[in-house]
Symmetry: C2
Amino acid sequence: MTASCQWQTQHLQNKLFQPDVVVIGSPKPEEIHFNCIETSATVISCFHMNLGKHNPPYQDLQYSDKLFGEDVGHLAAALQMQNVIKSCKQWIQAQQYKKWNLRCLKLQPLSPVPSDIEISRAQSPKAVNVLAKEIGLLADEIEIYGRTKAKVRLSLLERLKEQPDGKYILVAGITPTPLGEGKSTVTIGLAQALTAHERVNSFACLRQPSQGPTFGVKGGAAGGGYAQVIPMEEFNLHLTGDIHAISAANNLLAAAIDARILHEGTQSNKALYNRLVPLINGMRRFSAIQFARLKRLGINKTDPEMLTTDEISKFVRLNIDPSTITWQRVLDTNDRFLRKITVGQAKTEKGFFRQAQFDIAVASEIMAILALTDSLADMKERLGRMVVASDKTGQPVTAEDLGVTGALAVLMKDAIKPTLMQTLEGTPVFVHAGPFANIAHGNSSVLADKIALKLVGEEGFVVTEAGFGADIGMEKFFNIKCRASGLVPNVVVLVATVRALKMHGGGPNVTAGAPLSKEYTEENLQLVADGCCNLQKQIQIAHLFNVPVVVALNVFKSDSPAEIDLVCKIAKESGACDAVPCNHWALGGKGAVDLAQAVKEASNQKSNFRFLYSLELPIVEKIRSIAQKIYGAQDIELSPTAQSKIDVCTCQGFGNLPICMAKTHLSLSHQPEKKGVPTGFILPISDVRASIGAGFIYPLVGSMSTMPGLPTRPCFYDIDLDPVTEQVKGLF
Amino acid sequence: MTASCQWQTQHLQNKLFQPDVVVIGSPKPEEIHFNCIETSATVISCFHMNLGKHNPPYQDLQYSDKLFGEDVGHLAAALQMQNVIKSCKQWIQAQQYKKWNLRCLKLQPLSPVPSDIEISRAQSPKAVNVLAKEIGLLADEIEIYGRTKAKVRLSLLERLKEQPDGKYILVAGITPTPLGEGKSTVTIGLAQALTAHERVNSFACLRQPSQGPTFGVKGGAAGGGYAQVIPMEEFNLHLTGDIHAISAANNLLAAAIDARILHEGTQSNKALYNRLVPLINGMRRFSAIQFARLKRLGINKTDPEMLTTDEISKFVRLNIDPSTITWQRVLDTNDRFLRKITVGQAKTEKGFFRQAQFDIAVASEIMAILALTDSLADMKERLGRMVVASDKTGQPVTAEDLGVTGALAVLMKDAIKPTLMQTLEGTPVFVHAGPFANIAHGNSSVLADKIALKLVGEEGFVVTEAGFGADIGMEKFFNIKCRASGLVPNVVVLVATVRALKMHGGGPNVTAGAPLSKEYTEENLQLVADGCCNLQKQIQIAHLFNVPVVVALNVFKSDSPAEIDLVCKIAKESGACDAVPCNHWALGGKGAVDLAQAVKEASNQKSNFRFLYSLELPIVEKIRSIAQKIYGAQDIELSPTAQSKIDVCTCQGFGNLPICMAKTHLSLSHQPEKKGVPTGFILPISDVRASIGAGFIYPLVGSMSTMPGLPTRPCFYDIDLDPVTEQVKGLF
């Protein structure tokens, strides 16, 4: 590379990494020089992008033009352009996959391990634009939110579409205790180990937690100990506003439903039509969304004056049956008093009151859509498809019918971009979407995974997490998320703890808030050995999908060496490629290096991934398949409601959607108290509902709470802000 | 300045304007060199900040240390440090007030004027970090949100505390028609004129609009025509999440109230105490917020085991009387079905249902607090002071009693920072807070104004807007906002339109959505002349506060030259310093140059600002003073409820708060249909409520709706997102 070339490349990169560069230039020189470039389409398109957006080569060209006068200018320009092309080629190559030159943040773990927020606060995160640059993002591809968060634009998927994906690693867990077994910490610890210690590109992809429980019982969800996303308070609070956007979109739709019922109920067809298609300067015009509705109604007219009385009636009335409304309002607050409410009791609502409820925001179907969509166009279509009720003839009423699709897409236009953050060791993390794991599929977003797989490159790893135990989170990851994304997983990391295994082996109840029985704090090899049946079963479940398993034993202080060895031995005998103890909570990435190596090893196996069921099967057969093959049920039993809902779904053309089981995560069966590997049970399906926009049918196995409450002593008793240092206290 | 010095200053500024620079260095060299600096405290503190945070001089020092070896290193370091000190001094001077070197964006206004969103989209905003640098903000003082928005940190107030404030200009209006008379466009147009045309530093400070109405009836609020904040869709949607933060905080408090009533209602004192102060590892401990409550109860014990049964009872029971709850839930959605609801109807709430309501988010007291606070510490105190109900003995129950102060402050920690955006001509705008103008004071934030006044410097102008007509918005600006901030206004710009004046002169009704009568589209000098009584009255109101007035006549296409001249003539005869027609809507800042010059001229008058009433007056006298002197009422009439609420407020020690009248903005009186200058009326006060955290008493004059609804054809019918270009359509 010549000195001039070097300078130009450098110059170009600098320009590209300044958040703003003035755009000058005409299209002409670009055209000329495209003819000179004898390279691939990728090169041209990238080059084009640079010229169009930032135009540093052309700025130089203009300069020399002035310098030499117009006659010499063109020759000089041509010569200089050759250099520019050369440097652009080099620049483009530099954008292709390479091992990141990432400055990792040093950890000096303390013992005993301090509180999560103390650990988080003790580390200074890199500025997020520095991190973005390190992992190959262009300045144009990020939108910074404060110092430590940035949204990543989807245009990156187009730029890197030719780049092969990295390895796709799913972190799932055995059937957990109510305390959780640390899947998030394993996800983060593994990414820290891969990148900060093994020097391999890696990304952790996490769900955004609901803000409600942060102030209620659960606390935060940024990992824990020395395996955390930082700053943890930014992770746990507001983030980049995605859940707020979901609430706004969800509630606009809810308000539109009730307002529409009121307006239809209190106005004549003529009055409705006059308001929906008003005379403006003596003219009536249909809006785009109204044309779409006319088309669905089979009315092919464009002049509002030409509709017949009957067509006007069809057009103005959705005829929503209030008793069929399935769309609920949401809040990101643990507010138990909103579980069942009566709305519309003010005089202005003229007696149209009805019973309704608020769910926690992350239970919104819009959250599930955010997690499954792969583009803005797809998200908009899904939002429009959402079914909110039936009309009085039993036909589904959608968001599109209510005319709100565009507004919902507008409210969600930024939420669709994944948020970049970092681990305690300065490795990259995506936080994006966090749907419920029972009434929805409980996985982070397809888009975050797809972008991460491009950014890490062929030799890199994306570690993503599935909620609940493997029988639920992993099954949905495979059958719903991978089906939607087309991505193929390479390895499952199955998280186990000695504590949970002892519980499955017959140990006493584990309950949040209560002290642990001595079985859990003293060595007990028999309980461990007996409990490994659950681990074995979950390994077998992963094998149903033909994906290799590495068991990650999340080590606690009280685990004895013999217990640890026993688990690893049994795991390997049960078909796991490997089983390794992990100490990332106490040590950070260093404590998960063995796991990282085992995952790298396992990822070399040829993947032969397959789904559990075909979408073409009848709904009942798909449910049965999951119940029998995954949960180990003898059979399923449908309530009459469930059966009739299945019939309706099938009739309405929704029969070949995948299934999203709403079941407890505390047992493989539907009964939380049945630990280990229950068999011979009949799985009762009490109801069947559908998220048509998200694209799945969700059978209810028992009742699912969609609005948590505040306990007598909520977390917020300990949460405080120091007004001088601006530091948050009491988050955990 | 030597070449080296120049280089260093440049280098320093570059460093300072990179969003992140690695921090290296030990404290030692800083100490040494502080001893050499014989300058003012300001200089030292700025220098300290630079060294501590970014440390570029010390990086150079380290470099030379290595270069010359350790022996020569110290001497070289000392020499070099001298240079560094010199350049730092120069840098610090450069940070003091100066005329901004601001790149204004060129406007080429089209005729006819395109839609607001088309105009907004046709302009390319500067990157917000570029704008921030232009107006003297340091890299450390901004937090970027995407490309066009940034939050500004309050630390700036400390850095610039010695700098004199700029001139403080309030934009208020005459009594408006329901269509609004264009205060926001005047505010923006004036700032565009001052900075882009008169080359004077200026800031426009605006309220953040509620997102609900954007999708309902009203549309956006970013100004209009060629006087807008851009990008207008960013302004109108989500912004930087402040209203979402307010909703989250507001609703956490609401959930805490109902949950507390439930828990107290279903548990014994002992059970409550065991949960509130649980045994953890055999020990009970009070949290900080519990200690504060004990103190308020007069219990001076620190050991939870030492409380008597009676003290435990006092401690664990707030004894909230559900019928006295004044705290409502909020949503930023126009959802009329939430105006009156019943909550707590699920079985899990054990019969504790009650009637409640949702307000639109901007009606939350937390919004009023955000607008009036001047620091994080003050905001936290105000949040804690908010009264949400009375207990069964009639004592006020506060957010602090519920233990939620710290959590609310945590949720609001970013919302307290004003958001920087720009006008169509690239001049700076703060968007911050947007309280209701009836039940609250309807002004943008004290903090935005204070920061802007420092940034524009002594010769600069801050243009801020008050909601509604001057009788409400301006009166509250003076008596509430200026009292809270201590800021003294220099000039009032009073916005009038020929349309509104004709209405006051006896013209037919003006209603949103209906076409205007011909009186408004044809010349009618008599109606104009008659209607100027309202303008005259509003000028007199401003003079009660001793503030000079410039009348801005917002010109419409249909206004005749004779009508325009007549208004200006009458305005000047009525005591306005000047009265000028404005064409910023059609022409941008260029159309408001005359206004800018008039404002500059008026601002040279010596200000002798005074409040209307003393806080020490009894509540009733303060209300009467406003009713008589401002509205022109003969007297006030209190309902029995209002009288008894005033007695309670006074008893509880809230008697010397300022008054925030909740009155219609469509008339000087309480009757919207009474135009012009009504006299001889008795102002009926139906109820009196209090926002103790925000710090005002608000008497209700008639009923105030705090939750708008969706009409039959809401705005969202036209709102859409192009999934390819990502452009928003249909916002206005």
